[in-house]
Amino acid sequence: MCGWFDMTIPKITIIDYGVGNLQSLKKAFNFFGVNAAASEDTNEILTSDAIVLPGVGSFEAGMRGLKVRGLVNNVKNFAAKNKPMLGICLGAQILLSEGHEFGVFEGLDIIPGKVIRFFDLQNKEKIPHIGWNMVKSPGGEMWNQDFYFVHSYILLPDRKENIFGLTTYGGREFCSIVKNGNIYGTQFHPEKSGKAGLEIIKNFINSI
């Protein structure tokens, strides 16, 4: 018997491209009753309502992970349709055009911009930036919640309209969230950011 109300659960796929820990992400989606499967299968990705690009490690390793699995075009095509996408940490960085970590490497070019190393930090702050830090809107309003960061490289989108969140570390303001339509990239780890992070995951699920 078919229900007369629509109870479709969105199909969310976490792309497994060999970099980073997927368990925490799966756990975060499970928290909201959503079973987000990890997969590197082209068809799974094609038929998903939304995809998540996790990732920890170097820019080059990330792009290589996608290339050897033949996933670069899949991800680009998914983005071209403006279907919901969430990139996390390295997953956010590879959304940009190029990365300057240990050389210059081509990214997915879904959001124009570069990924460069933190520079000229004040107060002898260490690199990588490890710990909790606040995000504010480009307009200036603070979100009043901290999120967990661990990174040495930062997002540098070309266009102001792709900057959705800003954070300051060592006196340097950097882009902590990029956005292009339904495509978001967070430099921080929502799955490691307690309740504030879970809110981000919830909003992403609701946006689908």
């Binding site: 368990q23 107060n123 950011s193």
Partner: protein, 253 residues
């Protein structure tokens, strides 16, 4: 200034959280899952989970227990205890760890730190040092849950490990651990002075002033404590409120 992280540390033996005092006595202080979830809900910034007999008994930590303990918490978890291979690290990560802490095996095979950092990234590899002050004032690094001499100068070992690729250093004072009489400021400062990677201080947290001091005097990047939390001498909130009152930035929840 950046937020200082406040990190409860759970020493695990079998199914229990235990608290060693000078590594001679072990007292059961609680249930790992209950404590982990309590600390998470109280606003802990991260959690450290160390199986203190894995190396001694030459076995692995209980990955199933780890999975259960981390099931309902969404903050970074650093796991240590008998980590001896890339396979062990993979198992830890799959069971809920975000970072692994390595002590004993790295002292005997320093190149493992580089191998691990290359495979998982430096940010995933934490050097764990158990340091005990010797007669001549030099700190010696201990292994196997703070029981065995290594003959290594702990401070020089820390310097070397940074070159080998570790992303953070967790330093415990074996002398102060469990006493709640204050951190070993000298030890922490010696390493903080040259370390280019974040330091987490542990061992001796007692009065709230002692936590402030290890931050302002010894320049640690993060503070870790066991006894004061497990024995309910204090709690995460009180510590954070106190630090905030002293103009030290911390994440408020």
């Amino acid at each position: 200034m950046k937020n200082i992280r406040v990190i409860p540390l759970l020493n695990i033996k079998g199914p229990n959280v235990v608290k060693p005092v000078h590594t001679e006595a072990l007292r059961v202080v609680g249930n790992p899952k209950v404590l982990a979830e309590t600390y998470y809900n109280e606003g802990a910034d991260e959690l450290i989970y160390l199986d203190i007999v894995a190396s001694l008994y030459q076995r692995n930590l209980d990955f199933d227990l780890l999975k259960s303990v981390t099931e309902n918490i969404f903050i970074p978890v650093t796991v240590g205890g008998g980590i001896r291979s890339v396979h062990d690290i993979n198992n830890a990560l799959r069971s809920g760890a975000d970072k692994v802490a390595i002590n004993t095996y790295a002292i005997h095979h320093p190149e493992f730190l580089t191998e691990a950092a290359k495979e998982f990234g430096s940010q995933c590899i934490v050097l764990y040092i158990e340091a005990k002050k010797q007669q001549d004032g030099i700190y010696e690094a201990y292994t196997d849950g703070g029981r065995e001499h290594s003959g290594l100068d702990a401070v020089l070992w820390a310097r070397r490990a940074i070159d080998l690729g570790v992303g953070e250093i967790l330093i415990t004072s074996v002398d102060q651990d469990g006493t709640m009489r204050g951190y070993d400021l000298d030890l922490i400062k010696k390493i903080a002075d040259f370390s280019t990677v974040p330091i987490i201080a542990h061992g001796g947290a007692g009065a709230l002033e002692s936590i402030e001091q290890v931050i302002t005097k010894a320049k640690t990047d993060a503070v870790s404590a066991s006894s004061i939390f497990h024995y309910k001498e204090s709690n995460i909130c009180s510590v954070k409120n106190y630090l905030r009152g002293k103009n030290i930035n911390v994440r408020m929840v």
